[in-house]
Symmetry: D2
Subunit: 381 residues, 4 copies
């Protein structure tokens, strides 16, 4: 698929809530920050006409629409950006791919594995036609984590033996906070593990370049009932989870997630321990990467706080001078940049993560859940 020559790449965004706002900011900004193909924010799609009209105006889309099927059929649309709840991902993404569009789909790929498999099949076929089926694990585009990946890939850590990842939030600490769709299995698909633990597992596999081959897991619902419209209701998803992962080269990784970690706001922490070095990262200080070079003289050794704002750092040349830090949202712009570059460059730059990565990740999460169901015993992948 080549770029259209007579017009900018047309983008349609389905959904306009939290993720839609972040994606809009990215599409609005990417051309100013990076040297990428021109884009046009053609249309935003939602079910409620009045609300989506308002969103279009506020978020800067040329048009709004309520029927995503009509939108993905439009000739002037090249990219379909899916920001809906997870249960709608499969239907829209498959249709968009079949309509010949590039797709960027927010995580999770889908709410169940059957859907995810169908999406991967559609993506594989679309790939033959030069289309990209991208998955939004945006944190891979946080510059400090992209730098971490560079450090691992260039051998600065030697062989990685141990990894520790956690994702802690605290928005469920109050046990009087009421039930919501996010706390029901049938609507949310998953709890803390799927929602935020997925980021932790993705980073583990992405940064190490190693797949999990076997897992042990534990899930918990620390507040099992919450007030609903008609009294106390059962919370049917996990609000905390733990797992250990064996990686293909023999390293061991741990994962711990919680929506009950009082005082932790959005704390994705990652630690990598290798034979020659170590790395630490905390999403609440996303411009810092802490690197220890175990090959340096002992008397000078320690974790170095690298403020990831130099032109030498990933994505940073496009942004501000050194020391002028980026925020959470900039990773979405970096993601948009990488997607546009991948579209422009075709085969040269296969975009990751794609739908297949999303399915593989989902299988790890499923294995953790299966292990918990099997009293914690090992589940192999």
């Amino acid at each position: 698929m080549s770029l259209p020559t007579d017009r900018p790449l047309g983008i349609a965004m389905i959904g306009y809530a939290f993720m839609g706002r972040a994606h809009s900011q990215a599409w609005r900004t990417v051309g100013a920050a990076f040297d990428v193909p021109r884009t046009a924010r053609r249309v935003v799609v939602g079910r409620d006409e009045s609300a989506v009209a308002d969103a279009a105006s506020r978020l800067g889309w040329e048009e709004h629409a309520t029927d995503w099927r009509e939108v993905i059929a439009r000739e002037d649309i090249d990219i379909v950006d899916i920001c809906t709840p997870g249960f709608l991902h499969a239907e829209i993404a498959i249709a968009a791919l079949e309509a010949g569009k590039h797709v960027l789909c927010e995580k999770p790929l889908a709410n169940d594995t059957a859907e995810a498999e169908a999406m991967v099949t559609a993506a594989r076929a679309a790939r033959q036609r030069g289309q990209i089926a991208a998955l939004g694990f945006t944190y891979r585009r946080v510059p400090a984590l992209a730098l971490a990946k560079q450090f691992v890939d260039t051998g600065k850590l030697g062989r990685i033996r141990q990894v520790r990842a956690a994702y802690f939030q605290d928005w469920l600490v109050d046990e009087n906070a009421g039930m919501s769709w996010r706390l029901r299995q049938e609507t949310a698909g998953s709890g803390a593990l799927g929602d935020i633990g997925s980021h932790a597992v993705d980073q583990i596999q992405h940064l190490t370049g190693q797949k999990a081959t076997a897992v042990r897991g534990r899930l918990a619902t620390l507040v099992p009932q919450r007030p609903g419209a008609d009294g106390l209701e059962e919370v049917t998803v996990d609000d905390a989870a733990w797992a250990t992962l064996e990686l293909e080269d023999g390293a061991l990784a741990s994962v711990e997630v919680s929506r009950m970690a009082t005082g932790a706001k959005n704390q994705l922490t990652i630690e990598l321990y290798g034979t020659d070095g170590a790395l630490r990262f905390d999403l609440e200080n996303p411009n810092e990467l802490w690197f220890l070079d175990a090959t340096s003289p002992i008397a000078e050794q320690g974790f170095t706080r690298v403020l990831v704002t130099e032109p030498e750092h990933p994505y940073l040349e496009a942004w501000w001078p050194q020391g002028h830090v980026l925020g959470w949202e900039n990773a979405f712009t970096n993601q948009a940049r990488d997607l546009l570059v991948a579209i422009r460059d075709g085969e040269v730059a296969p975009y990751a993560p794609d739908f297949a990565d999303g399915l593989a990740l989902q299988r790890v999460l499923d294995a953790i859940i299966a292990s918990d169901a099997a009293d914690g015993s090992t589940v192999t992948l």
Copy 2:
């Protein structure tokens, strides 16, 4: 001046370098984040037609132009945003105010006091006509610093006795780095004190709500010569400076600035010590405010790291969920928001800092320079 009823507020931006990029991002984003009057990025102005055309396209302005006089005369322009080098500020700002436009002028207000005084005169006249003459000390809109101001204003620190501010960068550490216009008095107007020390002094006066009444200062040029086209040239501005300020209520403040602070990238640090509490801030971790409540029980006392990302914090309701941090650029969007609200609300919300604040600040910096020239003895204001 009331808002135009038939069209969005039209913005013209003069200059499109570093600050122009930041301001463009703000104008592009403000309507998506905040509930503000509609705006249109009408035109960006620069001297080099080809370059400004490219900037307009990249930064998302409808048109470009090379003659700022024509632009400020346009009926569809309501706000003139001045991002040029300082020596052009006075002429453009005065003309724009006289043309009936609101003005946002980047800091410093002007390169000399005479110009600054003329600007204040023009701004005073314009104020009678309902126009705003805003000055871009954007860091006042960093949420953590806005929160600091709230804490001071609501008495959480009691009476402030001591303040310590520093602004450290390191881009001049290499003594083989060549001469540039920024290192010559005649082109730059000032060195580290004027460029970054101005932020430190502004914060001291803004946060405490107290004006400096007397100062002592020292300036230094730690690398006095640098390679130019024809051999070594004299550096004629300061690259480091120190000052102490007596504030009107009797507190003492210190300022230290440097472009030689190896390893400091953009490190504006502010410490406020009061009878009932203390605050600390570091611009390299701009989402954190460290607060000590000296009235809490001793056994629990200490500096609290407030992650300034809650809806209860200034500006944050408009942004992302808790724990999803902001970057350096977001303060410019917050600034655009405040300016638009001030324009909308007229007298109700006088915008600060304005040109008069800029002149007053310049007089403090001049006094520091005069003190240094007088061997460090006190200069009163």
Copy 3:
């Protein structure tokens, strides 16, 4: 048992290596820092006469001896302080208790459960005679952890739901480092879990005041072979371990330990998350306790760095003025203080942890090992 009236409490210390040095420092210092019964460092015992003589001189003991049986029979000895390797603990401790002495035994209580049970039986009998059988989990006497305990006990955390403890060291990172007795099951008894994980588990149970009722565990030997005298030898203990613990009130705790955590030197970290607050601690910064009060106003909330050096903090009144921090060794002096006070006050102040606590802890560790042997499935206690 009452205090001797005519002489100081006589102490005999068995063993004089790392722990012996730390205990000697404590006995040497305790009377200067605290108001405690007088003590005399009577005799240090070791097998190698020349070496123990040197140790006595260097560490400040009046005499040295090579036969611990003779020593514990001495009339002038009141306290037997056991700093030998673990496999000797049971024999010496039981004999000393039977000889009517108070005993302070370094952790681990014993190398196997049968020995530990015999020790508890002996301690129970001795307790009837007013003797103390104390176990050296010294970190309970780190002031910041003692303060954490106070905070939990006075309800500042509300109900604790989640705990996270880790103990990371890195002294085994180099895979060419040779075999040693610490890496063989038969001599060391246990690996990272028993050596340092025991501290993590002890803190979890101690700080929460809750016992583990069920566990899941995983052990790993990340470097399974190391060079010995005759080529590569098998490492037969774990060098990393993971566990989750269900606590009696329903909280979940995780434990992670490693001797492979590159760059971690002695990093025991503990995090407690409750309905009303949270705590964090890191043994590499042992004078700091980080406390979050979830009942304070949101806009001011965050983790507070409490520098635990105030007279209002546990043990601190005896030490230095505020801000003058303590080191690792001071916890041993605090431990000696608590033991002497318990001896002086008799029933009023039962000393903890005692041998029964050590046995209970050992059973948790054994359950973790059993869970790993059972492929990670739950083992109840």
Copy 4:
């Protein structure tokens, strides 16, 4: 002077308050930690017989005495350790030196310059006889600061251009806290500048190896009156001070001290910025040295937290395994070690700082005071 062959070095300590406690701990510990000549804590001297008897018992001295003149005449005394208030230093130190003893005198050297000069004269004469006249700027023996000195001396920072030192405490924040001898010029000799600022200035000169050649200073008494026995009294010493120092090689250093820095407990911070690197230190985290190597690749550059607990670090081989941190008191033991080694080795290891260093430092402090008296203008040294 050679070591006595038939007995340990006998120590007499004059004074037994805060500093006496710290010195006692050092003498009690030094022989256990380090390979040094044997010592005996012979006698502690004070004016109040009952109190000094109690101190002798508690702090572990063989005898007590009330007449320091008798004590310094004793044959079995080799070292006189002066821990009295400053106004007694000169008389005791000179007499002890004239009696042929080594002297360790706590800082400040004396309360006025005339006394200090007499002490230096006595020390110079004593030096001819092989006696040491040591001054207690103990922070030079904090391992992290000793490591900083090594880094500077081995060129890791290149040429130092800028230094920033501050010493902040907060024990005078409460303006209702009453008058005391420390707040009167005639008894205290000096205020915050002399008490804690002296440490900052000593570190600046010691670490850089450069003397101050000219200074500008400002002193303030932020709370000028405090309640005394008969109503409000004037505070006649400074409680905060600021200075800039020109160093002999052209670097500029700043000093800021305060007893009003709410929340700062004992916060001596030092920052050194050189052409090739930078260092940062904070006495509230005394086991950490933050080092930036400006010659390392930009993408990896940043401040490295060196946990100064390795055998490769100064003094550490004598203490505990890596990661087992030291406290404030250990620096006193390190100081005792260095003094004993200097005594043992004679000319080979001249001990610093000595009385001449103390006098030179006093002259810098006097110059800062003189500058303030001259409205802040430069005073040369």
